[in-house]
Symmetry: C2
Subunit: 310 residues, 2 copies
Amino acid sequence: MKNFADQLVEKIRIMKNPTVMGLDPVLDYVPDHIIAESTQRYADPSKASSQAILEFNKALIDATSDIIPAVKPQFAYYEMYGVNGIKALVETIDYAKSKGMLVIADAKRNDIGSTAQAYATSILGKTTLSDGQQKEMFGADAVTLNGYLGIDGIEPFISLAKSFGKGMFILVHTSNPSSVQIQELELKDGRLLYEAVAEQVTDWGSTLVGKHGYSSVGAVVGATWPEQAKKLREIMPNTFFLVPGYGAQGGDAQTVKSCFDKNGDGAIVNASRSLMCAYKKNNSVDPKDFMMATREEAIRMREDLNNAIF
Amino acid sequence: MKNFADQLVEKIRIMKNPTVMGLDPVLDYVPDHIIAESTQRYADPSKASSQAILEFNKALIDATSDIIPAVKPQFAYYEMYGVNGIKALVETIDYAKSKGMLVIADAKRNDIGSTAQAYATSILGKTTLSDGQQKEMFGADAVTLNGYLGIDGIEPFISLAKSFGKGMFILVHTSNPSSVQIQELELKDGRLLYEAVAEQVTDWGSTLVGKHGYSSVGAVVGATWPEQAKKLREIMPNTFFLVPGYGAQGGDAQTVKSCFDKNGDGAIVNASRSLMCAYKKNNSVDPKDFMMATREEAIRMREDLNNAIF
């Protein structure tokens, strides 16, 4: 059975690019001509909005699938458009996979027992339907999770990861300012909470370590907390890091540097807005050329990361 | 503006029933005759499965809407059936509301900034579409959240709660066995982590306390941890508790008793399987009489709770 972490390491090495493109498509990000076209085609505004997002996503994938190894659709932005939005999400995932990209479902799910099982089935596995057949629903390669409920909430995902070569990234230290409110509470033994969570995550992932030394149970470690990232890289040497917060949130190549190991492996850095809205950065860019602007920003980010890491 | 906690307190008082019916519909729960009918009507097995679930939910709501104040659909079980499942979820919520029930979306969402905003908009608010119009997507009255990311992840929900009279329940101590792994870590100051989270939740909810003394920012407190519930009832006197774990998970009226205040207010107890599958409890019940079995179990549970509380 393939191992998700191995796949990720290898894809990043081949492309020499530890970038994941976040697909967080609010309508404001979508170029006007795509919205106009979709509005003309679909009378239902929920359908028109969702299809505009899907077309935008497909173009972003076309613009980058040969240079970026993975995409990370953030479920919230699709759920916001209801049933049609979920349809656009499913089709975005299918399209990215058809172009050879790995798909990390940013859903931050967390529940227990049969409910955690249902989420795992939905996002990574196959659902048994009324005719007894099994069908993939979202079909992502990996998913983000929140570990507050302990192993009960993680176990069904680990089980599917073993059976189908899937992966997960569990929140350890998030990129936002208020992450410290809970995550940096000091424990009796001197550790901060996120360090204790890190140790649990390492333990939970111990049976899924691949040949490149990384587990398919990864961690979410924000780009905006370089000191914490450095400590985490030390205490969890076999854990792959998904690193949000580069770009719009203030993280840069220097702050994410400590997420990588000495060989330049072990982390993938997310950028959403800076890639999706690259065409908005410069007034001289015609919005119709958004694909080229995204591709150029992807190349700039790749060079930026490589210069810092190596 | 109405206050969600006030609505909940009043509805429970009128019905003399602090029960919320969890709608966690795996196909195994649905009586065979409903599945057979749906399979006959819809060729697509994903559609047939989802419609069977919807029909089952509607019947359960019909059977109980005059005696149970609220329902709690668990999003995982609908997402498991993909786009058609989400459609069944939206229609379940609409139907419950049309019958006067309050709807608590059990989604345990957690994210930051614009993403938390997107989840809040999706579940409690209104989405602005490509034609500029605003449309309700899920339209729930309240949602469950995970506070690991701090106030950044909660603030958008609080804002909508203030504007639209909505509510939320933030995970404090969950009902599952492994909840202790993270939630009961001991802090330097002697508190356990869940107590620190409880204090944050109290703080976050301080501006949403209604006339009955309870905030629309509530807490999830598992029925299976009576000692912890007792402590939490003391340290968060203005926080309404959503209490899972009664019935199948081992909680009973005695273990949930300490979640209520001395007037019998302040908590609502969830039951999913024991209500949905009441018809399976006794071999002599014809599955076609599942509505009556659920109603009888709802009345039994109501009496059970009232006997313990008062």
